[in-house]
Each structure stands twice: as structure tokens, then as C-alpha cells.
């Protein structure tokens, strides 16, 4: 009884902190409410995030603001064609005494205090760098300087430059699958917001802007523990599990659910649907959304809230459709949500038996 009460208090407290984080970030980042909510979800689901968007849309400011709210250390590295894996681990320089010195690189510098690692233009880096990064993302520890560095609280945010294709190395589908979400950061469409971004000088000084955000709203080193608690607390019904299974199947065989795409034969588009890891992450993120919505049970709306961002980058299209992936993925995920029924007749029959 006591434990239940304590859990409820924890859930309520953390929710108020999570919502405060959103409010704080929204003070300095305008027109990105959905992206902020999704990043909040990713933080509490302990998932890494791929950011999708052009240059100069405020990704860095957004990440710095979030990192300030989460607390802990923020590190950043720029992806370049000559970046090598060791550049993440260490860097060498000549000391004051003229002798070469070795220091920890951005990945190790903060040690366990690293909470946000931003990899800018990850697709400019070589596959070797991707391999290292993806391994660290999965294992959250690395051996260097004859010892093991643990990075238990690290969340990676990576940005892909989608405009230029020269000297870029596309992240393979297996690597993309390691990222929980791919969140689009789009230029606000509202004219007033655009005007503010152009003429309000406060948006033009990122450093002072970030300082307006309250720091340490969350306790970064307790996020893992709370995330586990949250995941076990939010329940899912049989009907919802059946629905999630239908959604998964629809990513593999959309035609079975009567899904159609404009100007594309849906039977030939999909090469591989969502992975088991992807579906696990989908439910994990959906539970966080349910918690943020102050519910104890998963609703289809929770899955919908994160579906596109969780699934789109995991879909592997046949090569002839790859160059249209962004548009097709958006259309397909929208069609899936419109076509896969919940509660379906079949599911309700199963629910009845159970």
C-alpha cells in the first residue's frame, strides 16, 4: 500500500517536472511544440534521437535548452568527412612544456555526468565513426585508456544533413534502427512566429537565450530509475496489444490492411517493416506519452502520438523508392493509422474470450 502511494507521488512529481521542462524550453523555442513534446518523451523513454531538418532552424538552441533543463553535461561534435572514431575518444595537443599530451575526447570528457551528446551532421562522418557511435549508444559504455568509461545517463541527439549529398555517408537502416525516434524540426509556418524569429533580437543570441531556461529541472542521474518505474506502471490491455500487433504487421504487409498509396504500388514499396526493437521502443515511448497525459493505461492515441517518429525511419523501402522516402514514409504511416481499425471486430472477439 505504502509502495503504491510512493509510486503515485513519484509519478506525479516527475510529471510536473517533465511538463515544466516543456514550458521552460517553449519560452525560448517557438513553433516547435510537437518536437519538444517528442524529445521529452524520448528523454523519459531513454531513447536516442535523430533530428531531421534544415540548417538554422534552431536545433542546437533546442538541444542546449533541453540539456540545461535535464542537468548534467552537454557535449557536441561536428560530423566531418575526416572525423575518425578516435576523435570522439581523445584528442592530442602540445602542452605548455612543449611535450605532446593526450586528453579525453568529447565522449569521455564528462564521464558519467554526460547527459546529452549532440552529433551534428552525423551523415558527414565516415561509417567507422557511425559504428563506434552506435555501439556506445547501444551499450552506454566504452573502454579507453585501459579502463571502462560508463555513460549510463547519455542520450544522443544526432542531426542529418539532408540537403547536401556530396561527401556524406548515409546511415544504413540497421544503424537508424538504434535511434528511437527521428523527429522533424520544421520551420514554423505561422507568419507571426516567423516575424518574431526575424525581428525579435532575443532569438538571435542563442547563448543568452539558452540561459533564460531554468537549469536542472530534472535530475539526470535519476532518469533511468524513474523510466523503469514508469514503464512498469503503465498497463496495456489485450485490445491495445492486439492493435499494436496489427500496426506492426501493417508495416510489413500494408496491402493486407487495405492500405493504398497515391501513385505507388503498395505491394512493392516495403522491403522490410518495423523491427521487434522498433516496436518495443514504440510501446516504450507510448507509455511515456500516456504518463504525460496522466493516464495509467495505454490508449491508441499514445501510440499515434509517437508512431510516425518511431516507425518512419525504420521502414526499409525498395531501392527505387528510397529517394522519396520522406514523403512516402509520412504517407504510409498516416495511412496505417487511418486504416488499421481499433478496436477491430476480430480483436473484440479475442477480448471477449479473454
Amino acid at each position: 500500500m505504502m509502495n503504491i502511494a510512493t509510486t503515485d507521488v513519484q509519478l506525479t512529481d516527475w510529471r510536473s517536472h517533465a511538463l515544466k521542462l516543456e514550458r521552460e524550453v517553449k519560452k525560448v523555442i517557438v513553433g516547435q511544440d510537437k518536437a519538444i513534446r517528442l524529445m521529452n518523451v524520448a528523454i523519459f523513454a531513454r531513447g536516442h534521437v535523430l533530428l531531421e531538418g534544415g540548417v538554422g532552424v534552431g536545433k542546437t538552441t533546442l538541444l542546449q535548452s533541453i540539456a540545461r533543463c535535464i542537468g548534467g553535461a552537454y557535449e557536441r561534435i561536428e560530423g566531418t568527412v575526416d572525423l575518425m572514431p578516435n576523435d570522439l575518444i581523445y584528442h592530442t595537443y602540445l602542452g605548455e612544456d612543449g611535450r605532446p599530451k593526450i586528453d579525453e575526447g568529447p565522449l569521455l570528457r564528462a564521464g558519467e555526468n554526460l547527459s546529452v551528446f549532440f552529433f551534428n551532421e552525423i551523415n558527414r562522418a565516415r561509417p567507422q565513426v557511425h559504428a563506434l557511435m552506435l555501439r556506445v549508444m547501444a551499450e552506454r559504455h566504452i573502454s579507453a585508456f585501459k579502463k571502462e568509461y560508463r555513460l549510463p545517463h547519455m542520450v544522443v541527439f544526432a542531426d542529418r544533413n539532408q540537403v547536401e549529398k556530396n561527401e556524406t555517408f548515409e546511415i544504413p537502416s540497421a544503424a537508424r534502427d538504434r535511434f528511437m525516434m527521428e523527429i522533424p524540426i520544421e520551420i514554423p509556418t505561422d507568419r507571426e512566429l516567423r516575424k518574431a524569429l526575424m525581428f525579435d533580437v532575443k532569438y538571435q543570441n542563442a547563448e543568452s537565450l539558452t540561459k533564460q531556461v531554468e537549469s536542472n529541472v530534472l535530475q539526470f542521474d535519476q532518469l533511468n530509475g524513474f523510466s523503469d518505474l514508469l514503464q512498469t506502471h503503465i498497463k496495456s490491455s489485450n485490445a491495445l496489444e492486439e492493435y499494436a500487433l496489427d500496426l506492426w504487421e501493417s508495416t510489413q504487409n500494408p496491402a493486407k490492411f487495405g492500405i493504398k498509396l497515391d501513385s505507388v504500388d503498395v505491394n512493392r514499396v516495403i522491403h522490410t517493416g518495423a523491427s521487434p526493437r522498433g516496436m518495443g521502443m514504440l510501446l516504450k515511448a507510448a507509455r511515456v506519452n500516456a504518463w504525460l497525459m496522466n493516464r495509467e493505461s495505454l490508449y491508441p492515441e499514445d501510440i499515434h502520438a509517437v508512431f510516425h517518429e518511431l516507425i518512419a525511419h525504420r521502414l526499409v523501402f525498395n531501392s527505387m523508392y528510397e529517394n522519396r522516402r520522406t514523403l512516402l514514409a509520412r504517407e504510409l504511416t498516416t495511412q496505417i493509422l487511418s486504416s488499421v481499425a481499433v478496436p477491430s471486430r476480430a480483436n473484440s472477439e479475442k477480448a471477449k474470450v479473454i
Binding site: K235, S237, A239, R295, P300, S348, K352
Partner: protein, 307 residues
């Protein structure tokens, strides 16, 4: 002596008779008069069995009342004419009374050839307690016609065509009848359209009509609750053209404004459905199903445009 006594009595009687008769004769002219006599419309072609009506209106001064004992007796037959009915009606007007006497005669006389007959003269007596006065209504003559001519040997030769009665103009009645029938039919179709569960008319098999039918067939128990909810969801999805979720209700209503009247009920339905399918809270299934039955009927009414 005996003769003297007889003469004396006779004289006394004569004197007393004069004493009574003279004042009454004087009162008659001033106190009573016949103001109207309505005789039968036709005075010829009267045959045996015909009924002839005569109405006499007499105005008398207020103190006089008709002597009912002196009225002609119903059933009395005079020269083959029977008085088959008599009605007396009295209306008062300032210090006068108007006595209306309706006499109904039936002809039972018989004759082999046309003859003149008459409704008998009638005398009516009025009294004010002290004095009497009488009013006499004269006879009314008519030609009696026999049913057949005299001396015929073959009745067939004497047959006459039946008198064709004047037809009543029923065109107006026809028009009213067909109009009423059309209205009744339209009304019945309207009632069927509004209330019928089956698909008897076009546009009756809408999504919510189907859902209502399906829910109606379900037994009211816990196992049926989810079926009922699914039927409702299927109806919403069918009208929306895609899966409809709570967050899209506003778009649904914007697209289908005829359901706007049930906005709060629709929101409540989605909450109820989410609770039933996805939350661990249990609901009272019997109430849920009866609620869904009522809601599906109201949504069906909206769908049929009768709400």
C-alpha cells in the same frame, strides 16, 4: 210541470253556454293567430305509404298554453290518412309564445284512379286557466295517384321506369379522399423512415442504422459490451472514411455537421470506449449496452435527417 223544468234547464244551459262562448270568441282574434303553415312541397303524385308533413306556427299571448289533451291523437286515421307523428315545440318571445306543431301524416288510402284527398283540418285549443280559445287550421288538398292504372291485365305493361334520384356531386369528396390517402401514406412512410429498423426504403441502411440493428440483437451481458462498442466504432469509421479517434471528433463533426447536436454524447462514447477497451476500470455492461442502444438510435435519427 215536467216540461217546464226541462225548458228551465235548457234555458239555463243556453245562458251559461253563451256566458262561456262569447268571451272565448272575443279572446281568439286578439290573443292567437296562425303565423305560418308549411304544407308538403308537392300536392300531386302522392301514393300510398307516402309521408306528408305539415308544420303550423301559432302565436299566442303569454298566459295561454296549448292544451295537450286536445291535440290530435297520434295513430288516428281519417279518410285513410293516418297521423303518424306529432311534435309540439314552444318558443317564447317577450309577452308572446310561438307554438310550432309538426304533424306527420302517412297515406293509407287506396283508389283505383287519381282522386283528390285531403290532410284533415285540425283544431288546436289554448287555455290561460280561465278562458279557452281555439285555432282551426284548414284542410290541405292533394291529388292521390294509384300505384297502377285501373283495369290492367298485365302488370308488365304498366311498369314505369324508376325515378332516378339526383346524384350528389362527390368530386370534392373524391379529392379530399385522395388527398387524405396521400397524406396518410406520406405520414406512414415518414414514420417508417424514422422508426423502422429494417431497410425498407432507400437511405435507411445508414451506418448507424446498421449499428443500431446489430446492438439491438445483442444480449445485455458483459460479453456483448465490446461487440456493441465495436459496432459503434465501425459506424463512425464508415461515415468518417477512416479510423475515427477521440482527437479527431472535431474534424468529424465539421465534416458531418448533422451530428453536431450529439457532440457531448459522442465525446462521452469515445471516453467510454477507451475505458472499456484500454483501461482497467470495469463498467456496468448492461447500462453501457442500453446507453449505446439509445445513442445509436439518436445517431441514426441524425443520419436520416429527422432530428
Amino acid at each position: 210541470m215536467k216540461n217546464l223544468i226541462i225548458k228551465t234547464i235548457a234555458l239555463a244551459s243556453l245562458i251559461s253556454g253563451l256566458g262561456i262562448f262569447i268571451p272565448s270568441t272575443m279572446a281568439q282574434a286578439a290573443d292567437a293567430r296562425v303565423i305560418n303553415v308549411i304544407n308538403p312541397d308537392f300536392s300531386s303524385g302522392i301514393q300510398i305509404g307516402d309521408v306528408l308533413n305539415r308544420t303550423i306556427a301559432i302565436e299566442v299571448s303569454a298566459p295561454y298554453t296549448i292544451a295537450k289533451t286536445a291535440l290530435p291523437i297520434k295513430g288516428e286515421v281519417r279518410d285513410g290518412i293516418e297521423l303518424s307523428g306529432i311534435n309540439v315545440n314552444l318558443t317564447e318571445k317577450s309577452n308572446k309564445k310561438i307554438v310550432t306543431i309538426a304533424l306527420h301524416y302517412q297515406v293509407f288510402a287506396s283508389a283505383a284512379k287519381p282522386v283528390v284527398m285531403q290532410l284533415p283540418a285540425e283544431t288546436f285549443t289554448f287555455s290561460d286557466g280561465a278562458k279557452n280559445l281555439s285555432i282551426k287550421v284548414p284542410v290541405w288538398h292533394f291529388w292521390f295517384s294509384p300505384l297502377v292504372a285501373e283495369g290492367i291485365s298485365n302488370a308488365k305493361e304498366n311498369l314505369q321506369p324508376q325515378f332516378t334520384p339526383t346524384l350528389i356531386d362527390i368530386n370534392a369528396h373524391h379529392a379530399r379522399f385522395w388527398l387524405s390517402l396521400a397524406l396518410l401514406t406520406a405520414g406512414l412512410l415518414g414514420l417508417i423512415y424514422i422508426n423502422a429498423n429494417q431497410r425498407w426504403l432507400p437511405f435507411m441502411n445508414g451506418a448507424f442504422a446498421q449499428a443500431h440493428r446489430s446492438i439491438k440483437r445483442l444480449p445485455s451481458n458483459e460479453a456483448s459490451e465490446k461487440y456493441a462498442l465495436v459496432y459503434m466504432h465501425q459506424a463512425f469509421n464508415s461515415i468518417y472514411g477512416a479510423n475515427l479517434f477521440a482527437r479527431e471528433i472535431e474534424q468529424f463533426l465539421a465534416k458531418n455537421p448533422k451530428f453536431n447536436i450529439l457532440r457531448s454524447e459522442i465525446f462521452h462514447f469515445f471516453e467510454q470506449s477507451n475505458t472499456s477497451f484500454f483501461a482497467s476500470q470495469s463498467q456496468h455492461s448492461v447500462y453501457v449496452i442500453s446507453g449505446l442502444l439509445a445513442l445509436s438510435k439518436r445517431l441514426r435519427d441524425c443520419e436520416r435527417g429527422v432530428k
